[in-house]
Amino acid sequence: MNFEFLGDNFMSLTVTGLTQGAIYALVALGYTLVYGVLRLINFAHSEVFMIGTFVTTIVWAGLGFGVGAAAPGTFGVLGLIALAVVAAGAASGGTALIVERVAYRPLRKRNAPSLIFLISAIGASVALFELVGALTDRQPRGMPSLVQPKVQFTIFGADITNLQIGIILSALAMLAGLDIFINRTRLGRGVRAVAQNPDVAALMGVNKDRVIMLIFILGGMMAGAASVLYDVKVGITTYSVGFLIGIKAFTAAVLGGIGNLRGALLGGLLLGIVENYGAGVFGNEWMDVVAFVMLVVVLLFRPTGLLGESLGRARA
C-alpha cells in the first residue's frame, strides 16, 4: 500500500492512464459494435489488433524505417503514421471480415447457440496468432521510435508529453467520427436498426449481411488505428500482444455497457486510469487484478455496465 505515491503522482498517473485507456477504448469499440448487433463476443478481435501492429511495422520497414532508423521531420512522422493507420486499418478490417466470413457466418445461418460461436471465435483467435507466431518465428519485432516524448506543458505537476496528447486526441477524434457515423448517416441507421431488431430491420429493407460486414470492418479499422497508436507508444510487438489488450478492451466494453459506443469510451478511459492508480498504490504487478476487481464491483451494482447496453435503444 502506497497511498503517498498515489497522492504525489496523481495527475501523471491520470494522464498515463488516459493514454492507455484511449487505446483500450478504440479496441473496445470492435467488441461493442459486434456485440451490439450480433450479441456475440468476438474473441478473435484481439488478433485483429495484433495483425495491425505487425502491418504497421512492415509498412514502416518497407519505407526504410526499420529498427533504429532516425525519425524524419514532423511532417514525415505524421505522414508515416497516417500511412500506417490506412494500412493497418485495411489489414485489420480485412482480417475481421475474413473471420466473420469463415468463422461466424456459417454458424449464423444455423442459428447456433452462443457457446458454439465462442468456440469458433477461440479457434479463429488461436489460428491467427499461431499463424503470425509461425511466420515471425515467435520473435518480437521492433520499430523506430518515431515520436520522441517531449514535455509540452505541465498540469498540477504532471508533465504532459506530445505523445500522450497525440494518442488521446486521435483516439477521441476517431471515436467522435464513429459516433457521428452511427448516429447520423444512412448506413449508421441501418446498423442501429439491425441492432434493435434484425428481423424487422430486414423487412424494412436493411441488408442484414451487409450491415454485419460493415460492423466487422468498422471494428477492425478502429483496432487497426489503435494498433498504430500502440506501436508509436510502445515501440515493439509480438504475436501474443493481442491477448492481454483484448481482455482489457473487452473488460472496458463491459464496464461501460457493452453494445454502447460511448460506454466503450468511458469504460476504456476509466479502466486505464483506475488500473494506473491501482498500480501506483499496490505496485505494478497488481495492475490487472485491480482492473478485474473493478469490473466485478461495477457489474454488481450496475449489471449492464455504467451507461447501459444496447446500440439500438439508448443513444448509441
Binding site: L107, N111, I116, F117, S120, E130, A134, V296, L299, L300
Partner: protein, 376 residues
C-alpha cells in the same frame, strides 16, 4: 398444412435417428454382456502402461506420464462439464480453481511453504476440495446473477487474478514457487506387484520417475467422479441443470430455484477442478505460477465443447485428445496449435454437437437450426 406435418415428421425422424445407432445397440445388449465389456475396458485402462502397444505409445515422452496427464485432463473435463455441459454456464477461468486446489495442497503439505503446518496428503486434499468449493461459491455468489456473457469475462478475470496472486504473493513463494508438494503416500510397491512391467518391488509407489502409481490413482478418481456426476445428472439436481441450460427463464417460471442450482454447479465444478489440480501437482512435486495461464483454461473449454458438452464420455474424449495429440505428434510442435485452431472452426461448422454428443443437446441444436431456417 402439409408443410407443418412434413416438418413435424422430419423432426420426429431426426429424433429417432439420434437415439438409434451404436447407443441403441449397446443398450439392447444383455446386462451381463454390458457389465463384462465395461469391466474389460476398465481393466484394459489399468493395464495400459504395461502394454507396449505400437503406434499409440509416445516416442518422445514417457508414455505413463502422458496417460497420467490424460487422466488429469479427463478429471478437469468432467468438472468443467458440470459447469458448461450440464448447467450451461460459460467458465473461462476454470484454471483458477485448478490453481487454488493445487496451491492449497502445496501450502498445507509442503515443508518448504511459508505455512508451517505439514499435513499429509490425505488431509490436504479434502481441505483443498473444500477451499476450492468455497472459492467457487465466493466467485459465483455475485456473478451468477449476471447474464451469461458477463460471466465469461468475470471468470476470465478470476483466473487471471489467481495467477497474478500466485505470482506475487508471499504465501505462494511468488515466482520461486513451492517445492516438496506432498505425494499421496510414502509407501513402496509390495512384493506381489513385481510382475507388472515397470514396477519394481521396494521402490516408492508415488514418485516422479515412475508414474504408474499416480496414473492408477488418477483413473480411480476419474471413475469415482464420473460415477458421482452421472448420479447427480440423473437426479433432481441434474434435471434442474438441464432446464437452466435450455431456458433459464422458463426453468425459473417452472419453480426451479435457478440461482441455487447454478451456484451448486459452480461449486461442484470447482471442487473437481481443485481435485485435479491437487492431483497433478502432487506428481510434479513442484508448483509455481507458470502452469496456470488463461490460454490453457480456454483450451479446456474448447476440449469440452469439441468432445461433446453434456456427455461425459464425449468430454473425456475431448480431454484425452487435448492431452495426448500434442505429446504424440511432437514433430509438429510448431504448428499444432495452428492446426488446433483451424480444427476448432471446422468442428463448430460441421459438427457443433461435438464428437460424442449428448443426445439431448444434439436435438436442441437441431431444433435451433430449424428455428433459424424459419427466421431467415
Amino acid at each position: 398444412m402439409m408443410a407443418v406435418v412434413d416438418s413435424a415428421r422430419k423432426a420426429d425422424e431426426s429424433r429417432v435417428r439420434a437415439v438409434t445407432g451404436l447407443r441403441e445397440r449397446w443398450s439392447n445388449l444383455p446386462y451381463g454382456w454390458r457389465i463384462s465389456v465395461l469391466f474389460a475396458f476398465i481393466i484394459f485402462l489399468y493395464a495400459l502402461p504395461g502394454l507396449e502397444i505400437p503406434l499409440i505409445t509416445t516416442p518422445d515422452t514417457d508414455f505413463t506420464s502422458v496417460l497420467f496427464l490424460c487422466a488429469v485432463y479427463v478429471l478437469v473435463a468432467v468438472g468443467l462439464n458440470v459447469v458448461i455441459g450440464l448447467a450451461g454456464l460459460l467458465d473461462l477461468g476454470y484454471i483458477g480453481f485448478y490453481a487454488v486446489g493445487a496451491y492449497t495442497v502445496a501450502i498445507l503439505g509442503s515443508p518448504n511453504s511459508p505455512v508451517v503446518v505439514q499435513f499429509p496428503w490425505v488431509v490436504c486434499v479434502p481441505i483443498a476440495i473444500a477451499v476450492t468449493m468455497v472459492s467457487g461459491v465466493i466467485l459465483g455468489w455475485p456473478t451468477l446473477r449476471l447474464r451469461g456473457d458477463y460471466l465469461a469475462i468475470v471468470t476470465l478475470g478470476f483466473g487471471e487474478i489467481i495467477r497474478v496472486f500466485a505470482l506475487n504473493s508471499d504465501i505462494t513463494n511468488g515466482n520461486r514457487g513451492i517445492t516438496g508438494v506432498p505425494v499421496p503416500s510414502e509407501g513402496s510397491w509390495p512384493e506381489w506387484m513385481d510382475w507388472f512391467p515397470g514396477i519394481t518391488a521396494g521402490r516408492p509407489i508415488f514418485s516422479v520417475s515412475n508414474v504408474i502409481g499416480f496414473y492408477w490413482l488418477a483413473i480411480t478418481l476419474v471413475f469415482i467422479c464420473m460415477l458421482g456426476v452421472r448420479r447427480l445428472e440423473r437426479s433432481r439436481v441434474g434435471r434442474s441443470w438441464l432446464a437452466i441450460r435450455e431456458d433459464e427463464d422458463a426453468a425459473e417460471v417452472m419453480g426451479v430455484p435457478t440461482f441455487k442450482y447454478k451456484l451448486w454447479a459452480f461449486a461442484i465444478g470447482a471442487a473437481l477442478g481443485g481435485l485435479s489440480g491437487a492431483l497433478f501437482f502432487s506428481k510434479q512435486t513442484f508448483i509455481n505460477a507458470q502452469g496456470f495461464d488463461l490460454f490453457t483454461s480456454i483450451l479446456w473449454v474448447a476440449a469440452v465443447v469439441i468432445g461433446g458438452a453434456g456427455n461425459q464420455l464425449g468430454v473425456a474424449l475431448g480431454a484425452i485428445l487435448l492431452a495426448y495429440l500434442p505429446e504424440r505428434f511432437r514433430e509438429f510442435a510448431d504448428y499444432r496449435l495452428l492446426i488446433f485452431g483451424v480444427a476448432l472452426i471446422v468442428m463448430t461448422i460441421f459438427r457443433p454437437q461435438g464428437l460424442l454428443p449428448s443426445r439431448r443437446r444434439k436435438v436442441e441444436l437441431e431444433d435451433r437450426a430449424k428455428e433459424g431456417a424459419v427466421g431467415e
